[in-house]
């Protein structure tokens, strides 16, 4: 790459040709404020917050779309630049509900932070306001367009990362709104509830549907036995809600915190992640040996499930029939566990702590009631849990490390790595190898399926049988894999798909901010959790063995099918039109 030299704020800065002034400035440690800009995804020069003064240019330039040039002279904080940014932000604020103290994004709002950093104390403009009522049709995501600044970051993620295109700019001028076609409610659109839009929204215009009140009510009800499960990815992220650095492993503190909130039992989704491996592993072996539908595709990620139901309904037979670990947990809590402790399942209230907004939708799927009760009663994202702990005054850093309760809190490292892209595949391979070959796996770590690369292919030798596998994360990558399989159905035997970038550690319910750099740190933490576990293979989980002996019989038994497996439904895009 050819280098160019330019001057930014009087400093000589070297940059690669093709870079923008914004990128060059950031590399040189010079901060230019932005709002609509999103690294690698959205550089459209729309909001004008990142303007800079360029010698010889007639007007201020948006640095996010301004290529560097040899000899260019740029000022990022001249009086004219600062005045322009202030005017821009004041105009945005003039059409923004100033309810920061009661907003769900209070403290994590980029518009709020921008107004603060620009020292805006008063808005000089008064004009029409958008107003309107929030769209709460979706169980996962709330759209509050009164708070939308039209930055289009959500549109970029939905289209470029997820290839879903549920929302986009509609109408024009002041009427412009980011919405589904025909301004349909989100629940009637092709939205798959992944919540990536809620991670990139700079304001409170797109956020998780907050279900904490349901949980507070259950905790306060003496007639309810309230149990909680924590998803693999939450133990490496909830600390961020309390200012801990990304990548902090806080498993024991999270368990202690949940006890402080008053949960009767604190259990672990990692336990049913192990169970998923057994059920899914046997399902795969069965399909391989009996000529079943291949490739088989994992079914843990509910955003992915709605995606395939909507965009690839013809490929539903390829999905594993296994419920997700969240749903398996609920089904067992209200049957096996209820019987073991002698509590009427009607009095058991199951809460999930999830990195995911789509889990809220999954929990409400009508078919997820195989025990006669809803598997799951309430789903909280990592963000909602963080807020509840703050409300309860729990001092997170000061908590001791406490263990999970028996029996549904016992797990292995294989369950933990479900939280990162490639983890389900790796966990499945650890078990499949030993089940198929009857030998002990020589090396536990399958490095080829780890990491942030979008599509990871690998071939695994199961004692002479070549198993071709592929791992994809983001729905854009999932689409590519499915299109390849349509052309060449024999290309793979087994596919892992996670809807969110990086897997669940990058889920739509995770702390804000979630960037690729933060995702990498969370992934490292997940593998640290795995490495430090005494047991690292799902089939070694002693409670899983007891569960089969006492209750389920054997993997894929009739009872297992009744409680732990499900079916899928084609969803035709906009069938209502």
């Amino acid at each position: 790459m050819a280098k160019v030299t330019l001057t930014i704020d009087g400093r000589k800065v070297e940059a690669e040709r093709g870079m923008t002034v914004l990128e060059a400035a950031r590399l040189a440690g010079i901060n230019i404020p932005t709002l609509c800009y999103l690294e690698n995804l959205n550089a459209i020069g729309a909001c004008r917050v990142c303007v800079v003064e360029v010698k010889g240019a007639k007007a201020l330039q948006a640095s996010c779309v301004l290529p560097v040039a040899e000899g260019m002279e740029v000022w990022t904080n001249s009086r004219a630049v600062r005045a322009s940014r202030r005017t821009t932000v004041e105009l945005l604020l003039s059409d923004h509900p100033t309810e920061c103290t009661t907003c769900i994004r209070n403290g994590t709002c980029e518009l709020q932070a921008l107004a603060e950093s620009l020292g805006i104390r008063r808005v000089r403009f008064e004009g029409e306001k958008h107003g309107g009522v929030p769209d709460e049709s979706s169980p996962s995501i709330v759209r509050d367009n009164a708070k939308c600044v039209l930055c289009r970051r959500c549109v970029a993620v939905c289209e470029k990362v997820q290839s879903v295109k549920a929302i986009g700019p509609q109408e024009r001028g002041f009427e412009t709104a980011i919405a589904p076609p025909f301004e349909l409610p989100l629940a009637d659109s092709v939205c798959v509830n992944c919540g990536q839009c809620t991670l990139v929204c700079p304001t409170g215009a797109l956020h998780e549907h907050d279900d904490s009140e349901l949980v507070w009510a259950a905790l306060a009800d003496p007639g309810k036995h309230v149990v909680v499960q924590t998803a693999p990815a939450t133990r490496v992220t909830v600390g961020e809600m309390f200012g801990m650095p990304p990548g902090s492993v806080v498993t024991g503190k999270m368990v202690a915190a949940l006890r402080r909130l008053g949960f009767d039992r604190v259990f672990d989704t990692d336990f049913t992640a192990d169970l998923t491996i057994i059920e899914e592993g046997y399902e795969l072996v069965h399909r391989l040996q009996e000529g079943g539908v291949l490739p088989m595709i994992t079914s843990c990620s509910p955003g992915w499930i709605k995606f395939i139901e909507t965009f690839f309904p013809d490929m539903l037979p390829n999905l594993s029939t296994c419920k997700s670990p969240q749903q398996m947990f609920g089904a067992l809590a209200k049957t096996y566990y209820a019987r073991k402790v002698g509590i009427d399942p009607a009095d058991i209230f199951v809460v999930s702590i999830m990195p995911c907004t789509a889990k809220k939708f999954e929990a409400r799927r009508p078919e997820m009631t195989d025990s006669g009760y809803p598997d799951i009663d309430a789903v909280l994202t990592t963000r909602e849990l963080g807020r509840m702990l703050k409300e309860a005054g729990v001092v997170f850093d000061a908590l001791p490390e406490e263990p999970y309760d028996d029996p549904l809190g016992v797990s292995t490292g294989a369950g933990a790595i479900f939280g990162a892209t490639g983890g389900v595949m790796e966990a499945a391979l650890r078990t499949a190898y030993e089940v198929v070959t009857g030998k002990t796996l020589p090396a536990l770590d399958f490095q080829s399926v780890r990491g942030m690369e979008g599509i990871k292919e690998a071939t695994v030798n199961l004692d002479g049988t070549e198993l071709r596998v592929v791992v994809a994360h983001t729905l854009g990558n999932a689409r590519k894999v499915l299109e390849a399989v349509r052309v060449d159905p024999g290309r793979y035997h087994f596919i892992e798909i996670m809807a969110c970038p990086g897997g669940c550690i990058g889920g739509g319910g995770q702390p804000i901010p979630t960037t690729d750099e933060i995702r990498k740190k969370r992934i490292e933490a997940i593998y640290r959790v795995d490495r430090d576990m005494p047991l690292r293979k799902s089939h070694d989980n002693p409670v899983i063995k007891v569960l089969y002996q006492e209750f389920l019989g054997e993997p894929n038994s009739h009872k297992a099918h009744e409680l732990l497996h499900t079916h899928y439904q084609p969803r035709y895009q906009y069938a209502q039109l």
Partner: protein, 159 residues
């Protein structure tokens, strides 16, 4: 939103033919929409869905384009067209208040049609009746010096 009456089967068939000639061509979106608008007089929802599916464009984008350009309409034209002049003279004499009143009483926005299919509102620039402003033309009749409170009575004459 009230759904417009269905197109005749023959017209619907013609629409499908037009759409079919752009199969797999996302870049033909504006072209196909303008041909359909011309042929059908408006763009019904099911036609837009067919456009999205056939061209391989998301319905979100199709709807975004349709609502961006004033040329495209989602409802059939009303039985009567109100051409409201917003030229300089009519504007200073109160055209904006007329638009406001039409929005309040009839839910009519410029370019839009009432749900009962009775009126379509178009905002135009100068009927050449500047001395008579604010002026509106309903179908072929010019109404001069229209006051907001007289609008109801005038419109009621057009069934």
């Amino acid at each position: 939103m009230a759904q417009a009456a269905a197109l005749s089967p023959a017209l619907r068939e013609e629409a499908s033919e037009i759409i079919g000639s752009y199969r797999g061509q996302p870049s033909g979106l504006i072209q196909v929409l303008s041909r359909l608008q011309e042929k059908l007089g408006y763009l019904p929802r099911d036609v837009l869905k067919e456009v999205a599916d056939t061209l391989g464009v998301s319905l979100t984008e199709v709807y975004g384009v349709v609502t961006f350009y004033a040329l495209f309409t989602l409802k059939p034209r009303g039985r009567h067209t109100i051409n409201l002049c917003k030229g300089t003279a009519c504007y200073v004499r109160g055209a904006a208040q007329l638009i406001e009143r039409l929005k309040k009483d009839y839910g009519l926005k410029p370019g839009d049609t009432t749900d009962d299919g009775r009126y379509t509102l178009e905002v135009i620039r100068c009927l050449g009746a500047c001395g008579l402003g604010p002026a509106i033309m309903i179908d072929k009749d010019v109404h001069a010096r229209v006051k907001p409170e007289k609008l109801g009575e005038i419109l009621s004459r057009y069934e």
